[in-house]
Symmetry: C2
Subunit: 404 residues, 2 copies
């Protein structure tokens, strides 16, 4: 019997209890021992609920019980999660968490404590919901040098962008619908401004390159400025707009960014729609590998957490090596990255044609029926820095999106 405690009985926490109850036999077999939920911590009461008899309001009950070998942290947010997790690890209890804020901010310290204690800090569910990606990077791609990660890591924004493309909706209407369906929070900022995807790419990149990527140093741009008209131009260009989170190793330098991109229909990420997530990994020897699945949701996320519990139970007194040191990885700014841009303008193309050609030689002009008072153009490959400088020569710029 391996006793565990679950911190937080919200959406994911109740999913964890449900999954362990439902699949207890096969989970016990795979873990090598029956998994028993000894405590559930929550400030609220749940009269009549299955967890009523194991519910506690005081974390110290869990901390001071030596029979609890694994703590599941599914409260979210940095505090008090960080304090509880650190105390648990220092007390010799392994921790499994779905909390990306915690992992992005304190991951290397918590991994280091687990290493010293010979126990485990596992966080598969912090990125990509049910999609196995943390463990594959950490345990399956160990023989190769990872050169690039590129992913759709936020289901809320992907749902919004998919609805804008499918229904022709403006951003606000798609966001409202996402909120009604429970795909977006009431305060949607973390999702729509890219902060959530930023934390996730920081976690994946730290694991891929072996050093700590500070999420606060990643260039991050959200999707709140994308309009229905932008999507019309994207379609005319044979593209979909996707919020991509990416990082790359090239010629001794590391780059990372989060921003909306125009993705061509030939790219495998083009057809990742709705709340689905997908993560591309490029390795020097293995080439492209992709992981795809449901990026969120109560039961998918709970399954990822419980799989970590199984792994922690199999390794109660053995630290699973995690390739993520406390040393910081220095990121190079994106200003020298070269790519093509789509620019949306107000006015008539013929009036601005010469100035655009002077700024961006060979730029291709295009119009769509849905934008009678404006037009767009596509630049050739240009660095971010040059692009921003030359754009200043133009008037009537309404927006721009990078090409993947």
């Amino acid at each position: 019997m391996t006793d565990i405690a679950v911190l937080g009985y919200g959406t994911v926490g109740s999913g964890v209890v449900e999954v362990i109850d439902k699949n207890s036999k096969s989970i016990g077999m795979k873990a090598g021992d029956e998994i028993r939920i000894k405590y559930v911590l929550d400030l609220r009461d749940f009269p009549g609920d299955r967890v009523e008899s194991v519910l506690v309001h005081d974390f110290d009950v869990i901390l001071s019980d030596p029979s609890v070998r694994i703590v599941v942290e599914v409260m979210g947010g940095v505090e008090p999660a960080y304090t509880f997790v650190k105390k648990s690890l220092l007390a010799g209890k392994s921790v499994c968490t779905s909390n990306k804020e915690l992992v992005a901010k304190h991951g290397p310290e918590l991994i280091s404590i687990a290493r010293k204690k010979g126990i485990n800090f596992l966080f598969e569910a912090s990125v990509g919901g049910a999609i196995p990606v943390i463990r594959p990077i950490n345990s399956s791609l160990t023989a190769d040098a990872i050169l690039q990660i590129k992913g759709i890591l936020n289901g809320t924004t992907n749902y919004i962008l998919t609805q804008m493309a499918d229904e022709g909706w403006e951003f606000d209407k798609a966001l409202e619908t996402a909120q009604k369906l429970g795909y977006a929070e009431r305060d949607p900022e973390a999702d729509i401004e890219g902060y959530d995807a930023c934390r996730k790419i920081a976690i994946l990149s730290s694991l891929a390159y072996g050093r700590n990527v500070d999420f606060e140093k990643i260039y991050t741009e959200g999707i709140s400025k994308i309009t229905a008209t932008d999507i019309c131009y994207a379609k005319k260009l044979g593209c979909a707009v996707k919020l991509l989170a990416s990082s790359e190793y090239d010629d001794g330098k590391y780059y990372a960014m989060v921003a909306p991109f125009l993705v061509r229909s030939t790219h495998p990420l083009y057809s990742v729609n709705g709340v689905y997530n997908a993560i591309f990994v490029n390795g020097e020897s293995i080439g492209d590998v992709m992981f795809y699945g449901s990026g969120a949701g109560k039961l998918p996320t709970a399954c990822a957490v419980v799989a970590d519990v199984v792994d922690a139970a199999k390794h109660l007194d053995k630290h699973i090596y995690t390739f993520w040191s406390e040393e910081d990885l220095e990121l190079t700014g994106i200003e020298n990255a070269t790519r093509s841009f789509f620019v949306r303008m107000s006015g008539k193309p013929e009036e601005q044609k010469d100035r655009i050609e002077a700024a961006f030689a060979g730029a291709q002009m295009l119009t769509v029926d849905e934008d009678p008072d404006g037009f767009g153009f596509v630049t050739g490959p240009v660095t971010e820095k040059e692009f921003n400088e030359r754009l200043k020569d133009l008037t009537g710029v309404k927006g721009r999106i990078r090409f993947e």
Copy 2:
């Protein structure tokens, strides 16, 4: 220092040596100890090669050296691989293999020996080349009940079918090109008749359902009867022809089969082209998860083998639980499976229309310019058994393909 021996210095074996040499520092860090290739076994000599100094011709040299803790078997074929692997495990050496014939035929026995000895028998590279799929099923999807696996598991046939679609080639020309490029063996039977995909779906299904799936009991049909004309009809139907290997749990019964299918453009497997592989897994709680990547090739496969070596080195005296018992899983025949079929006919549609309508009410007729002396029709959902019986009422049947 962890000493290993590599059995077989062919394509994958030389890739294993190359990957370990190239990434020795990071591999050693992840394994927790330097990995040293102490022996390479091959019947041939390799004068001047990097392995010359460690080359042996006699397996007993490796077997009798207690310093060798991990044996890498990359010879292929059942014998002598089986004898060498079994002896290695019985001598307390962990084994990592890329050999699907060996794993499909003797997997449960070899896993059982490894379990009793407290060591490991790992085989990530036996399915999907570089794609992490065995370890994710065994370590990441442990909290859920897997209901379905569906995959493009053979790169050779996928390359042939992609070329037939892109270039309009007949099967023979596409096969010849695949052979010239090294994507197909000189004796291509195992690939084109589906035997290779059959072994791989047997391995994945055994791991997913926890009991041994006998590959010889899986209904298997290859792609050698697919013609350029079939592909023209597929395109007209908005489909691609893919060799799918699948298994399913439904209402207490298990089904498995390998056959070419018509895959609609909305299905994620539609756009998996060339030598790429992809594996869909459907879990009761997690929904669909997909793994995609290079299904073969020297370095990708070698990386998967070396990742197993890293895992074996981390677990030298600890068996990693593998959910695959020696008990056989009973498969239910496919005759009661219901689906739509495409049927290709000789003659004129108007001459046969009534008989077709009598046999398959509501069948949709279609013609393509490339088949002036024939036509096709698509049935509604019908069981395999009914389909085969009713097809006997028709004359001029030239072929049939199932719809996914």
